[in-house]
């Protein structure tokens, strides 16, 4: 579903990603862990089409299409969803209006009929119920005045409504208390399916107790330096990122 090949990206003059390789098949959940500054959010941003990053080398194929050539809205319409680390407040726009505009843009792209207000309301109310989120969320302006936990829940809610093929979660767990963390991970788990791929970016192993990944990768200085199963996350938790750094300093073949 997603193939990242030798991806290099920079911000201004600073090279952040230095050759990332990653392949995610439909149905798989991949976790990317790494210390601050390792390039986790840059990777998420590049995949979603944030224009602050300059891709200098490499390719990203999504369902066989060149993802890097698409505008952010095209990527979303093709089925890429980024749950933001810092969701943006949009005063004056209600969550309902915002989300309906998104859903209908995506439906139009897929050749489906646009949803009218009634059908849309039916859809979102059903999703809210599954995620145990209060209905007043719909009327509130997008993320305005939301607590950190509410913002992250809203991201998962949007994800549930838009039903993307590839979900990218950028540190969705950061700053969440245990209740919010449960809501978020329940929401993510409810979306796991054979057709859907997931890329879970996190700083902490804690989230991975709730969302069991198929594969864990360690991103360090812009490269994936270690890959393994869920046990790798546990090992990192015990030994810390210093362990990865140590490993890299050892001479080749040691």
């Amino acid at each position: 579903m997603l193939t990242i090949f030798n991806l290099h990206a920079r911000v201004d003059d600073k090279e952040i990603l230095r050759g990332v390789n990653l392949k995610i098949n439909a149905g798989e959940v991949h976790a990317i862990m790494g210390p601050n500054g390792s390039g986790k959010s840059t990777l998420a941003g590049v995949l979603a089409g944030r224009d602050a990053f300059d891709v200098t080398e490499g390719d990203v194929l999504f369902d066989g299409k060149n993802l890097l050539e698409m505008d952010p809205e095209e990527r979303a319409r093709e089925g890429v969803f980024l749950a933001f680390q810092y969701p943006v407040e949009i005063p004056g726009v209600s969550n309902t209006y915002f989300l309906r505009a998104g859903v209908n843009a995506i439906r139009k792209h897929r050749g489906q009929e646009e949803l009218d207000a009634m059908d849309f309301l039916k859809l979102v109310k059903q999703k809210l119920k599954v995620l145990h989120i209060e209905e007043d969320l719909l009327k509130r302006p997008v993320n305005e005045g939301f607590s950190g936990g509410e913002k992250k829940r809203n991201e998962i809610f949007q994800m549930a409504v838009l039903e993307p093929k590839l979900c990218i979660l950028d540190e969705t767990d950061s700053g969440l208390d245990i209740d919010a963390l449960r809501t978020v991970s329940d929401g993510v788990n409810a979306l796991r399916s054979k057709e859907r791929g997931m890329l879970v970016i996190t700083h902490y192993q804690r989230l991975l107790e709730y969302i069991k990944p198929d594969k864990v990768h360690v991103l360090y200085e812009g490269r994936i330096v270690k890959s393994g199963g869920p046990e790798l996350a546990k090992e990192l938790e015990h030994k810390g990122y210093g362990w990865v750094e140590e490993g890299l300093k050892e001479p080749a073949g040691a």
Binding site: A48, G49, R50, D51, D71, P72, E73, R75, A76, R77, F81, L82, F84, P87, V88, I90, P91, G92, V93, F98, L99, A101, G102, V103, A105, I106, H109, Q158, L162
Partner: protein
Amino acid sequence: MTLVADEKERFLDLQAQFERQQPQGWLKNLRQAAVARFDEMSFPDVHNEDWKFTSLASLLKIPFALSDKVAVSADLRSRLDAETLPSARRLVFVNGVYSAELSRVHQAPSGLTIGGLSGIENDVVRAHLGAIAGDDSQVFTALNTAFLHDAAVVVLPRGLVVAEPIQVFFVAVPGKRATLIPARTLVVAGVNSQAKVLEHYLSVGAAEDVYFTSAVTEFALDDNAIIDHAKIQDEGHEAFHIATTQVQQGRSSTFHSTYMSLGGRLVRNEARVRFTGEGSEATLDGLYLAAGRQHVDNFTVIDHARAHCASHELYKGILRDKAHGVFNGKIFVREDAQKTDAKQTNKVLLLSDEATINTKPQLEIFADDVKCTHGATIGQLDAEGLFYLRSRGIGLEDARHLLIRAFANDIVERMRIEEFRPLVQRRLIAPL
């Protein structure tokens, strides 16, 4: 300076020509006094602090004529009907002259005085007209009074609550010659009275015709009176619109207003509030939209002359192309005006590199137990917001429109005259 004198002479000549067509009476005396004051003043140039960012050169070089009587066209009727709210009473002025034919003051509740000035020149009107908007230092107010011969008049006696909105339309039907169109409104709200008053300034006919609307609106609110007010300035592309609203508020009165500016080539909207009793509240909101080479100047003065009064100002501007916006907000807190609560905000979206805004808060505080805040934000569309919308599948252009409308919509949501919101949505917000 001789240049300025010539410009003044032109208006004085025009006034003399106008005066010859007018009957004798108390209005003539009012006009003559205004002419005398006008003659003592000069038009401000950019060295005048209150006009620093607005040059009047383009206005003053034009020799204006008096406007002719015009026939009521089908266009005019349909335009009026499209903007008249279902339950509203309306007063219509065409080129500054009251049209009984177009106005609708049906079933006025007993005690409500409403109509054109002639016929209702009673003591209340005589006591207030020209007295609220003092023209000692305001040359354009003096100019307006010098041409005062008709006015929209609304007088609410003690205790009268009028639920239906009152719409005052000043329709310009300009011709080939550049004309001066005076517009005047007087609203007197007695103790415990309440009403909703809307002012519309619009033009019918060739959009490129040059004319000059000189508008003065006076509000006198007695104790506990409540006035909800909104103004839409929707003049033609080449129009000059210089307007002053003066509000005088008695004890525990409430004035809530929204100034919307859409049309015109050179626009000045002055809103002046004077608290003459304690415990009153005034809200001045504004939405100014400008494009091309439009110049829109919003000038507000709030005079906290009494204690325990609150004022709120939120002005928002959206400027495109080479448009120039000005916001100048003066707040005076006099020595005895303790517990004053004044808040002023101006937010501006600049949608092109060549659009400009000058924003200037001016707070003069002489009391020591007060809360006064002011702020201004000027910027482009939020790049993060745009990316967020796009990341959910919304196209770039749609995302831009969505953010621009959301920015403006805030002002509409704050309007207290709810029945007016759909029209504002349709006329101002939807095209954004």
